[in-house]
Homo-oligomer: 230 residues x 8
């Protein structure tokens, strides 16, 4: 049995148009380039998209890559930079010069690092000066209290936290900048893959908490970059 | 049409046995007397139960009372004490002398007071020295930090919190005593009537948090009294 | 039966300390004053808090007021301003002079007006120039497209939408400023009191969407004011 | 230990009757032939069913096939057509001549292609002229607006979308034909495997949206074929 | 305290523009006029909208009206027709002449009548010949089987069902026309206000079932009218 | 504005056929007569149905009646029997002579009585010898253990329980007869209106537990009557 | 590092008592022997339990076995019978002679066969005459209608169905025997792994449906055996 | 493409500070040392943390280890003790001398053993005399009744149970000590990975039940150790 036989009910998939329409005007329209969400795309699809992006000068981010995606991108954009923890590929490899205010990314625990790094690198590649502080969860409150002066220098703060997701409420109560809260799927049982942390953050008793989707480090970094824009 | 006509398919309800079997042995077996959960009972049913309890010497608590329950109890036990905020009736009106260690009850916000008071009074009527601190939520962290020395004197700490339910994690990280966390239905939207706070507490990143049902001030006070028992 | 008999297990509630601890330092610490969430508080509790706030010079907002709260506040702060649609009371009645960038509030439908107005007024009382556009839902796309030039002048955009909650995705794809998305409980059936709109917004296919709790107009306005701060 | 020993409590499974009752009258009764849902069936069961279908002249569709199902069908119907992206096998391989009105299938993003192609091919094998447009999600609204003239020529429009699932609302607001909305499990976190998109579509603020199950490309194509029937 | 004092932070609401933007072009663009969803609107808002609609010749439907809405509409459009069971107001009172194919509406039980009638009247006012059959649930299968000849004459069939929501699966298996399934909130306990019926319908084992929101009789009638359009 | 004006888009509702189709053949087909579920029906609809039932000799049960339903039935069937706790009306008032085996109904707590009595009376009116035991929840295990000899005489046992819903597991482990478990909405917070008890019963660690819908005393009694049929 | 070093904090697991307490009295107490639920048990644990059961004469069922469990049981009870579809092992291999009434098991679709066979074999090994009918789902109603005479001969009917789970409602409406409804996890998307079918069955509009847990073929067969007991 | 190329947007991860901040003061502050939650951490991260802990004298627990974690810890702390069932590593291998009261751990079924052993070993390594009783679920009530004298000697009782989660209610009704209830994910279908047991325990009809997260044996053992502290 031939797969997708010509002349029958099945189309040939031959051109980029049949799988994607790149939104190259987005940088003009919104000020930020499009990113390629790789989950659910085949390596072949990602390679075609990478080839199209190679022909234009914008910063390109590929998010949630698997190893086969990395190989596919690499075959087209061999100097692209890859961060295995954040599952992110960036091209060109050098981030642009920093503009706007500083972004600070907090990871409540070590297990929140992948999401936190995705936020960190996204903000940096969108042009913000960005830094990361790890393992400052509320179970040992002295750790976040020691960071208060540094927290107050940021124009936007990203907080990645799983389990009880309590850190954004605490941080938002200490600063005037907006807090971008990104729940992570860290935890088990009644954490319900990040749902518990998500609900905590939506119900933060301190105002000033901007919530994004579970494990959405890219979205958190993008939002922080917008908030801290010049 | 006669309601419940005799001789038909309908029984007369004539005696206490047909509506309840009091567990008067519970104080012997468990060390704590039974409480009467009034929600879902008619005033008449509560009155019959109160009459049966009047004949024995144990502390009797009636929880989640409505005004018609209060009137019904009062007609049988005229000296019973009633707290409208906690929706609790106690008889005899004087709590027993304190034994065991101190119990401290925290209310994260003013709106958590009804649940917190139900816990406070339950612990007190079960024989513990009990005290209450109000409005120490994590949005203004200095308020709970100012209580640390006092927190460390308690043998059991009850924390009532709605919305993000973040306070128990923070408190448990500061003390060695168990924290009894009681989520409240305070909040709206994605608070889902206390579900958000419940999940937060079940996922507390600090160990030592004992969770009870949403708005279950009675259960929280009872558990705290057991933990702080002599 | 006396309510809360002295000398028994019940405390007298006599002072403000026993119901709330005002966070008067919040304006210094965060740059924004505390608001009083009135749902779940008695009129008496709100009156005591209003009296305490009258003694200090900050802008005070009372949110989610019922008529009995309005009367209670009015007895203490007779010149306070009240908006019945937003269920908001502000004191002093004049908002402060505008600083920072403009905030634009969109209501997807007429039924989203209460939440949208709560956001509008909150941003205005926190010092931002704020404006409102109504009934620009995606079912008639020409309505939001006609607003694009105006959308692009805002430093922060609040979008209140119920039912499918699709408007924030569309708006975020058209502008560079962050979009604060506030799901409303408008709708029925599988809208699940705003849950559907909440999930839509958390999964917005355009980055740059900051989600707050269902019906949380206050939080949306506060976050927008922070984003558009000078 | 013998598997299913004869003479014990275990039956021999020997004939097609013991695993399936083909509904060969369905084409007469309903006008459309039965499809074979392969998920949860063994390759052996699918082969037996294919053999029975080979003896009759109707169009046969096998949906949600895995590779072992393809091999099993191929051994019985060697000229069947297979589309690996749609996970669909059709026999006979040529679709019938087109009747009725045109069906247009939209995929909001590249990752929605498998579901969109399942809808496309189903409609085509049920006798409709069907076409596919890809990557027209609402984050870049110009892409769908450019398709409006084409949208208005369709008798039925299928829209496959994951994440926020906002595209059907937008499309339904632009055309008079019914929109068949099929939520996909594309996304992560609070997408809850397609639940978010499903709820969005059920709450579409524009009427005229017919919702089918998550990832149900077959059902969407079938419904569109019925709507566009002659 | 003056409500919305002029000169303070509160706007006067003076014109229709500030509460709604009527989509009067919808009939041109889509072929069907806009309906006014009255739930969540004040009587005053509905009256203003009715006044604006009075000035143009299209059929106007007001859905989910309460008695105060009826009075408000009546003051502006005194000859409007009102159906108390469907909670629907139509103006002008005479439906347009029928075009297209017949629509048949089924109510599984007596309690599903309000939703079924909303669908019936919507389809009729959008120009379809529409009829209603009541109490044909699957618990007594002979009732629906007796209707099969009539079912087969319809161009579109609406099925309103609560509780187990099983009727659409059965009907879709008997006919070639699409079935528009509208789950109702009839039932209790694990019916979860229509969720059980909704899930049943989304998982209908017979293809050809188009699902709309719980209790959305208007949407069901609209969709049926589109399917049966000339 | 006339309600349902003749000659417009609105039908007159004039006959029983337009609101219900009585399944009078059910007693022949199934051996048990149909019951009338009154929730969601108007008093007028119930009266018409009662009038139709008056003309035939079967036992008729009206479930989930409100006071207006009782009055409506009473006007047609003045000798009908009414149980206010079970919210049940039966006609003729005398239950039929008992056949089959005995049915025993257990109520875990006093608040479960309404559901338990609905089950009790249903079984009795369907011809079974039925009895009730109250307040035998697992918190005081001696109460149910004292009933073991009696439990073992029943041919079917109904257990109504809310909150933790643990009683059916315990009872099923003690007897050989099937246990019909009916979760009640008694409880609060994480009882989620009976969901917790429902899940407990579905996961009973002892086999032999037949679960029905939350608060479905009628269904429980009916099922028990079938199990204990001669 | 030695696993579980003696003399440290880790116990040796040496005897059956430390992993299980066989309930050998259950056949006396309940009339049915205990079954061994193998999911979550190691092969070694199952082997120890099998060895203990070998020493006594009751029928032993091992449910939800994986291949390693089969091997482990086989090493102890080499003549045990194994059904790979039902994932069931029985010993002794011959079922007991039939007593009581006949049990009929229906599978709505082919994919429901594993659950249906588990029910069939359980009922047979507990001593009932049991038979199986496959693929009689409601999408082709003639298939179940053709079985009505056979359905009416059964003392208990088990119905296994996934997806919409509509078959039990239809069957219960046709017979006087109780219907044991077992939802299966067959389906996808909004089937939510059997939840949709479970809810459908709990809300069956025909009384007489006894629901068990999703995929619980063992429980369904056990309950049917009890209902059809002599 | 180099992973994390220097000089680009990617940081070197070089020191422990960049992945974790050990809370070595926790033993002083709380009286109990920190544990290392290994799920979601890489083997390399765990090894670095283990190396840091080797330099200080406290008891260290590593929870939820996979085999690669065990190897990593072993390379740094070669005499650490490992329990494969509890997935726990402890160092130093000898638990401290017992203080405080006895802790008793109950496993409702054999499949609950992993969680029960995690609780047992945690309590033992935190300094309590701890013991384990297995397979005392409520389906065979005589098993738990036989343990009553032993239950009454414990200062704290941990109950691990999946499926219906009914055991804690029963145990709490028999003793005066607090019961720490830990739901397990044992079960299938409507057990919803432990959710059913969790809800049961939160709704325990006997007071005195302290609930922790699903499968949280560590948390249960920790809480029991606190309750039974000297």
């Amino acid at each position: 049995m031939a797969e997708r036989p010509t002349g029958a009910g099945f189309d040939e998939i031959a051109s980029l148009d049949q799988i994607a329409q790149l939104d190259l005007g987005r940088a003009d329209r919104r000020g930020y380039p499009e990113a390629v969400f790789c989950e659910g795309k085949t390596a072949d699809q990602v390679a075609r998209i990478a080839a199209a992006l190679a022909a234009q000068p914008q910063v390109s981010l590929f998010t949630r890559v698997r190893l086969e995606h990395v190989a596919a991108i690499s075959s087209v954009l061999p100097d692209a930079a890859y961060d295995s923890e954040a599952r992110l590929v960036a091209w060109p490899p050098e981030p642009p010069p920093s503009t706007g205010g500083p972004v600070l990314v907090l990871a409540a625990g070590t297990s929140d690092l992948p999401v936190a790094r995705e936020a960190l690198l996204t903000a940096r590649y969108l042009g913000r000066d960005s830094d990361l502080v790890v393992d400052v969860g509320v179970a040992g409150l002295h750790r976040i209290l020691a960071q208060v002066p540094r927290l107050r220098t940021a124009k936007a703060i990203v907080v990645a936290a799983g389990m009880d997701g309590a850190l954004p409420s605490v941080v938002a109560g200490l600063v005037s900048a907006p807090v971008v809260a990104v729940p992570t799927s860290v935890g088990y049982g009644a954490a319900f893959e990040g749902l518990a942390a998500l609900l905590t953050m939506l119900n933060a008793c301190a105002p000033g908490v901007a919530v994004v989707n579970i494990d959405n480090g890219y979205g958190a970094g993008h939002l922080a970059a917008q908030i801290a824009a010049p």
